[in-house]
């Protein structure tokens, strides 16, 4: 009886949590399909016209493509910098760890707006031609998003015992590049995917740096949304469409990460290794 009550309690709690997260998104979704929504729980009139208008908007499509491309570019840049750096720090020079950790703390300690002004000042002094270009956004986003990848990759390398793997690979004649490619990266994919998703999401939804460093010269989805809010009252439904699309993009990436790591997750839980082995046999 006590067990049943506990089980019901757990399910009820789970349901509450799901509702807490789902209700705002459901409300936005309904709003994006509403022709008129007054004082009822559900819209008075349903319509798909806002979705049609949103996808027909050339400016929105351009902002969306720009945002996705930038997020991918930031992800690639961060992976190219962070993975070799963490590998090097773990196998060759543990003393740089303190510097790396301090750098990784900065985006959490300083508000993005302060970082943006810092980048603006610094770039204005040493490379003013970069101001307003996508390059400054790329480097700025890479700088603020890298800690997410750093912590995930560092944890994954620790869990994979990269130092030992590295030594074993060295005695097999592998160069550092070969070790990274054939041994390290395949063994940290879970951390890489989780951190990579956070980097992508950070750049995808970032507003302050883009606004301060490039403004209208690099209109991303966030700036476009702000413009919708500022300039018109009749296109808030379009903003709802945009919000749903952004949510779906990030949700799809999350599902992808979970799918890619489904076996690795099972290996992390007690008994999971044996279960995975049994399944593979």
């Amino acid at each position: 009886m006590v067990q049943l009550a506990g089980k019901i309690g757990r399910w009820a709690f789970l349901l509450l949590v799901l509702l807490y997260f789902a209700i705002p998104m459901i409300a936005v979704l309904f709003y994006s399909f509403s022709g008129r929504w007054t004082s009822n729980v559900l819209p008075d009139i349903w319509t798909t016209s806002h979705w049609g208008e949103a996808f027909a908007d050339e400016r929105l499509r351009a902002a969306f493509v720009r945002t996705v491309l930038m997020a991918f570019a930031v992800l690639i840049l961060d992976v190219l910098i962070v993975v070799p750096a963490v590998y090097w720090q773990r196998v060759r020079n543990p003393r740089i760890r303190i510097l790396a950790e301090l750098s990784a703390a900065i985006p959490f300690v300083l508000p993005f707006i302060i970082i943006a002004f810092g980048i603006l000042k610094f770039t204005g002094r040493i490379a003013p031609e970069m101001l307003g270009t996508p390059w400054i956004i790329l480097f700025g986003h890479a700088a603020i998003a890298f800690p997410f990848l750093y912590w995930a990759v560092d944890g994954a390398m620790s869990a994979a015992h990269v130092v030992r793997l590295n030594e074993a690979a060295m005695t097999c004649g592998a160069s550092p590049f070969q070790i990274l490619r054939h041994v390290v990266i395949p063994n940290i994919t879970a951390g890489l995917a989780a951190g990579g998703m956070l980097v992508f999401a950070t750049s995808f939804g970032e507003f302050a740096l883009v606004q301060i460093l490039a403004g209208a010269r690099f209109e991303n989805v966030s700036l476009y949304s702000l413009d919708l809010l500022n300039n018109t009252t009749s296109q808030v439904e379009k903003l709802a469409v945009l919000t749903i699309v952004m949510f779906l993009v990030l949700f799809a990436i999350s599902i992808g990460v979970v799918y890619v790591n489904r076996n690795r997750v099972s290996l992390a839980v007690p008994g999971g290794r044996a279960m995975a082995a049994e399944k593979d046999l």
């Binding site: 030992r164 030594e167 060295m170 005695t171 097999c172 592998a174 041994v183 995975a276 593979d280």
Partner: protein
């Protein structure tokens, strides 16, 4: 010709001297065991040969070539680690073929060599499994196959059996020796288990505090330890601290041996199987305090009252012979002077 020559190798970790001017020559096809307690420098020495540690001083030569500053990946070595360290993302076959892949061999050549080694190690059925799908013993055999894949000049084994249970350990120890002799490869084997070192090695280097205390064949180390540390570390031995009177150290009438010159106190070592126990005689009397059956042998714990002091020693006798000695009985004991090793006590 010496396959591995280490000359005056030294290594410090801060103030700790891990290796202190170590020199060692290993002949082609020879298996040398580095034996010693934790922290004696045996693994550091092995890692210096592998290129995983950079010595502060000295020269490492492999096959007559100076390898001191050559990175690990370019040394003609294969290494087996204590914790296997197979690559979890690769199958057993891919693990074995990895050194050949790094060398740029063709896929067919890699497959053929990997299959040949898997056959040799008795892993032909496990080739397509991942490391977490096979047992510890099988993982270590796969690691051995990987280490041999590229036909290295030297095989380095860093406590390869210490993570395995006793039964697998003995079987794999014999297998390692069989394969080492079959492929005629020079090998360096690190262990803290003296039984393992004695069973597997052509020569054993007993290490202590960053130095090689004695380098000799297992039987010689066992029968004739050259230092106090080697005497104490290798084999089960009685260790007694005795006073030297008139240049002689005595345990009553059990034995009298020449003490090292200038020593007032000596440490005397003798093996339990060298203690002769009889019911009658004119030798030193002792009381059987306890008796422990160990299968083929029985260990007698004896209390010796001599020269006003009480001393406890133990003797190993064939179990049939030991039957006549009952607990509490008085017996005669003696040890031949030639079987007692004495060293200055300090």
């Amino acid at each position: 010709m010496s396959s591995v020559v280490l000359s005056h190798i030294s290594k410090h970790y801060g103030a700790v001297k891990a290796l202190d001017d170590v020199s060692l020559s290993i002949a082609d096809g020879e298996l040398v065991a580095l034996l010693g307690p934790s922290g004696c420098g045996k693994t550091t020495l092995l890692r210096s040969i592998a290129g995983l540690e950079k010595p502060d001083g000295g020269v490492v030569q492999i096959g007559g070539t100076d390898m001191t500053h050559v990175p690990a990946r370019k040394r003609p070595i294969g290494m087996v680690f204590q914790s296997y360290v197979l690559f979890p993302n690769m199958t057993i076959r891919d693990n074995v073929g990895f050194p050949l892949k790094m060398r740029g061999d063709s896929k067919q050549a890699i497959r053929a060599r990997a299959d040949e080694l898997l056959e040799l190690m008795g892993l032909a059925q496990q080739g397509d499994r991942y490391p977490n799908q096979v047992s510890g013993g099988q993982q270590q055999r796969a690691a051995l196959a990987r280490a041999l894949a590229a036909n290295p000049s030297v095989l380095l084994l860093d406590e390869p059996l210490s993570a395995l249970d006793a039964l697998v350990r003995t079987r794999l120890r014999d297998e390692i020796r069989r394969i080492q002799q079959l492929v005629k490869i020079t090998a360096v084997y690190v262990t803290h288990d003296q039984g393992e070192a004695m069973a597997i090695a052509d020569r054993v280097a007993v290490m202590n505090a960053g130095k090689i205390e004695q380098l000799a064949a297992p039987a010689q180390i066992y029968d004739d330890p050259s230092t106090r540390f080697a005497a104490g570390f290798v084999g089960n031995r009685n260790i007694l601290e005795l006073r030297a009177d008139g240049g002689m150290a005595r345990l009553g009438k059990a034995f009298a041996v020449q003490a090292p010159a200038g020593s007032s106190t000596v440490a005397a070592f003798f093996r339990p199987e060298d203690v002769v126990v009889s019911m009658t005689g004119e030798d030193q009397q002792a009381m059987v305090e306890n008796k422990m059956f160990q299968g083929l042998l029985t260990r007698l714990y004896l209390v010796v009252e001599a020269d006003g002091t009480t001393t406890r020693i133990y003797a190993d006798l064939p179990s049939r012979q030991a039957e006549q000695f009952t607990q509490g009985s008085t017996v005669n004991v003696r040890v031949a002077a030639a079987d007692v090793r004495v060293f200055p006590a300090d």
